[in-house]
Amino acid sequence: MGVDEKFNSIHEKPENRIEIDKQFLSAPVKKAVDKFQLVPEYLKARGLARQHLDSFNYFVGTEIKKIVEANNTIKSSQNENIWLKYTNVRIDEPSTVINAVTVPITPHNCRLSDLTYSAPIKVDVVYCNGTGYINQAKSNVTIGRMPIMLRSSHCVLYGKDEEELAKLGECPLDPGGYFIIKGTEKVILIQEQLSKNRIIIDTDKKGCVQASVTSSTEVTKTKTVIRMEKEKIYLYLNQFKGKVPIMVVMKAMGMESDQEVVQMVGRDPRYGALILPSIEECASKGVYTQREALEFLEKELTRLPYSSVHNQREGRTMSILRDIFIANVRVTQNNFRAKCIYVAVMLRRMMEAILNKDTMDDKDYVGNKRLEVSGQLLSLLFEDLFKTMNDEARKIIDITLSKQSRASRLDIIQFITRDSISMGLERTISTGNFDVKRFRMHRKGMTQLVGRLSYIQALGSMTKISPQFEKSRKVSGPRALQPSQWGMLCPCDTPEGESCGLVKNLALLTHVTTDQDEGPIISLCYCLGVEDLELLSGEELHMPNSFLVMLNGLILGKHLKPQRFANAMRKLRRAGKINNFVSIFVNEKQHCVYIASDGGRVCRPLVIADKGISRIKENHMRELKDGVRTFDSFLADGLIEYLDVNEENNALIALYEKDATHETTHIEIEPFTILGYCAGLIPYPHHNQSPRNTYQCAMGKQAMGHIAHNQLCRMDTLIYLLVYPQRPLLTTRTIELISYDKLGAGQNATVAVMSYSGYDIEDAIVMNKSSLDRGFGRCIVMKKTTAVCQKYENGASDRIVRPQREGWDANKMQILDDDGLAAPGEIIRPLDIYINKESPKVTKGTATNSSELKDSDYKNTRQSYKGSEGETGAVDRVALCSDRSGNMSIQFMIRQTRRPEVGDKFSSRHGQKGVCGTIVQQEDFPFSERGICPDLIMNPHGFPSRMTVGKMIELLGGKAGVSCGRFHYGSAFGEESGHADTVGSISETLVEHGFSYCGKDFIYSGITGMPLEAYVFMGPIYYQKLKHMVMDKMHARGNGPKVMMTRQPTEGRSRNGGLRVGEMERDCLIAYGASMLIYERLMKSSDPFEVQVCRKCGLLGYYSFKLKSGICSTCKSGANMSTMKLPYACKLLIQELQSMNIVPRLKLTEA
């Protein structure tokens, strides 16, 4: 088991993902079973955007049916015989309606012609339009259109192979998981939330211990807080004016005996002592019975803005306690016992926390969080829209019925076929503003454009988790790396700056659960010996050796042998009797067994081990290799299981089989799966300083390369492409898994680490001109410009006319075809006209026939290519389509091919960015004894402070790779399992091929021809060209446009603006004493203005050209006028102040 064997295992060059697997496995099998193969199998089966797809599939397959069933009737309150009932709901094939004909659509069509990729929601209904009519049934009624997630079970791309996808114009490597709304790709970001229906113990701002529950049911969403303030315990609920004593609430729920409360909390005297002040307070308020308590609470209620129709008989308090207070605990037939017990458990946990701070819950703990994925959010939205539509329908029916004279007969169907659902869904996804009135949910920025700058950016959008807190909060807790996010959330991939640590990304193997049915689990629990809550007295509840059993935050009962119970449950789960994603977690501290089947938990697959011996044996992996086994069969056979964050606490997970001890319960599949997609690109990330990996995660998304296989068919507003992208010489397993080797974003540059020419300070790099000549770093930038052929209200419309071939502007129209549009392939220079459009002069008023309009009725509205000198491009494509309002829109893709120039930004994969400092002729470049001339030179000062050792190993590995012809690997933490080549073995390869083992070469100076005095570290490193290019940024101006209001120069490059001498620059000039320069910059070159000032009243006057003198309009005289210069903005300020009744007066003195 030496180095050699490891070598063999990764020796064969992988051609594609499926094939490597075979070759990889055909290598000698090691003693410790190599479980890596499970990772590609998992990703192959589930796809790269699986979290979105699973939740969406669950929504359209199951959830939507539940929603419709829960709200299946519309019944008129006026006439019992007018009703409608939904009997079935389904989502059809994606289609669109063109001229009242339904045609099927493909996603790529939608992208190109700005359509929404959606499918009709069809329902079957039974309805009755009144007494006289019989019940009618109608099927396939479209109630709206549902945007379809790409690659989901309802998408046309579902289950298609590569060739079929290519036919549909789709990139086979695209992950899917997003929507296409009006031609733009939108992804609903994963939302991080505090978990619902769970007791969370923490402290408020003042340091008071509190227990809070955010209850969420289908009907409402409430937050209940029980807080200990000054020794007494109070309940906070929005429906009460202020705090109410908890004991009163207990009494109101029928728990009249104080003893029972104490028993329920626990008979430990310490608990008794803590609850005593509250009991005393209750007594002092004179509340002893349920009736008294209810009366007391009734007074504490907030006034309702309008008198609502609540059940007068039982009072509002009762209904609040039943339906709003801890709403997740259901009350049946006014039996409040379950709720009382729940409150008692809350109290008990609070007191525990007071006695022992360790039992406080951590809000940042990943197990206390839920991720809301697109399916859940959509179902929330759909439910709201569906209910609103039904309510509306009911209202309209009632209004129509109340009108005496009904002209036509009422057809109930027409009320459910409006497009409020389609509009609502479309608007919400395209704006990202979720407004669900029922839950008082108003959230902004829930959706995001799928970044198509690079393939990695698109993938990154799918795993991005948006935070629950606002970014402004200056707290460090939620931003810190949580130990519990191990393996679930990527520890590297987070943005820098304000949202650092709040925005997270999923790790490679993370799965986000969907909701599971609770019913079978409950009955199973009772079968396995859980004692029903109903049968327990308060005293029995907290017996020292019994554990409470909680399912999704509900108390089921208690169990005397929790470990045995948990083991039995787990056994059933492994056997497939209950769902894989149900988690069973025994909390020894809280004496509870938590069972969770709710959606939004993060979990990941782990190999099960019995007493430290992995269940996966060689024969299993061999079967996988032979294709007999799939990932699911591993699950079904109980070799692998999913653990969520809570259940991980009950497991002892060994990193490798060899580390396993007798107690080990699970073994990791592969350690590199702790990282996400973006961090997975970094070779040897475990050798880098950690912030460098974070920087690379941000930068990898800006790297130019191939964005998708259909990149040349896309009509995005901006596309950056690299002309010759390469796959990295030093790859990682993740790179192969996510196909970065097929859609690379960078090139393998031979780098020499040395100083050269002085143009390489501050991370600048020196580039070899010949390399650039040969195509290194060459990129294509494509920009879209659109022209619309407008139709006007009077029937006239824009027209495109034949270009003039003669005359003064003929040369500006050179690139136009005879149809008046620029021809593809033509070279377009700034100011060239690309569409020869004319608009009618009269667009309003009476209808005119456009054929009657004469040429003179049109005016020129040509569009010409804007861009500064030298920004010459070529017309790449011209596409015609009709936009949403039926006008013809013409889209031009204008392409520029750029070679790197001084100032362009480059970066390696280790967060080491730098600009090109200078470009040097090849003959001046140093060369090695083998005649190798580097492509770029990087300054060695980049290393010591950055500590990117990974980059050095990448160089060594790359060098060994090119000399022996095998791609080397640098997967994270991969040395141990053979997924990363060790420096030792790399050095051996280097020596074998005549290089120094340390990667340093003997170099000759290209200028003098003599050898350099030091050996130079030289070899290939994968370099990315980032989207920031000088050409898009450089800017200067002499004279130029000014802002109308202030008469100061405009701002920004796009408006040809000036460069601002800001406050700080001004400060410098003041300190230096350059007063004339300040005067020149701030006034003369900006907005000089001459005003007439009245010396008497100090107000501004005007200059009368008739009298040839200044006149003060206030004093009505021209006697005391002076002329002075001041910035126009100052004059504006004076006048603006005057308009608010403030009189600024200028007092002039002789200078």
Binding site: Q922, G931, V991, F995, Y1004, P1011, Y1015
Partner: protein, 346 residues
Amino acid sequence: MFVLILKTESVQYSGAYASMKVDNSLRLDQFRSNFRVQVTKIEKDEKKEEDLIEFDMVGIDASIANAFRRILISEVPTMAIEKVLIANNTSVIQDEVLAHRLGLIPLNVDPRLFEFMSESDLPNEKNTIVFKLHARCGKGGRITVKSDQLKWLPQGSEFLLSTEKNAPSSTSKQRTYTSFSCNQDSIPELRDKPIGPKYPGINLARLGPGQEIELEAHAVKGMGKTHAKWSPVATAWYKMLPEVVLLENIEGEQAEKLKIKCPQKVFDIEDIGNKKRAIVARPRECTLCRECIRGYGWDKKVAIRRVKDHFLFTIESTGALPPEVLFTEAVKILEDKCERVITELS
């Protein structure tokens, strides 16, 4: 392991020796007797045309050797495609990229037969070579356009100037993008050796069904310093002759060790009676990997050095001219330069 390479630089100040009263002047006859060029290797490609030469250049200063290298890379002229007139390109490859690829194709033509084209010159048979490329993919299947589909047009361009297009094709010849006065075929050197790309198998583009490329490529004479496509060499470089010295006698086990240490098999073992002693057998093979001095104390036993005035020169030609001709061209250019300096000074 840190090994300092000491004093690699030679003295660059011209008056350095004179100021120290040392006569360092180079005697011509001395130089003549010392200077030596010896070809060690000539490699040929499939067509039996030379494309690589290795020779030793002894008795010369590094700056001169470097001057040859620099001239070879950037100043020996060749012909390369500079202008591409694209009539039709419906392939996926963009026009600029295609033009760039065409530019980098090495052309099998002796550049000495042509002249530089200055800004004011019209393209004529003396300064321009015209190629035509017309590839079309029929229905079904895909084709790869390779460099051998570039066809030489000895008559010059076939594309009419846009000003001529509308004019009636009445009188004489219509004007095209080149104004050749005669057929290039008639130049005897070209007649014997038709012009074309050096390598036929260079991928230019791939065409899908129905796609087409039609273009004309105009090659002109240029130098490597303008653009790497005009560089006549893939690369040219030299290294100094390695010299491996055993500082002490290495015998017995140590000798065996040393022999194994070197991956290039520089060392051998010599049997002297019953003793084994290491000798330096093939110093030329040394790549300066420093394996032999790795490990404690070895740098005291072995020294790896370079001979300062002995250069192992390698020239890899891209194909326009054989490498040895390239070198003589380089020498000529250096000669020219010297002459220019002399005339300027005198």
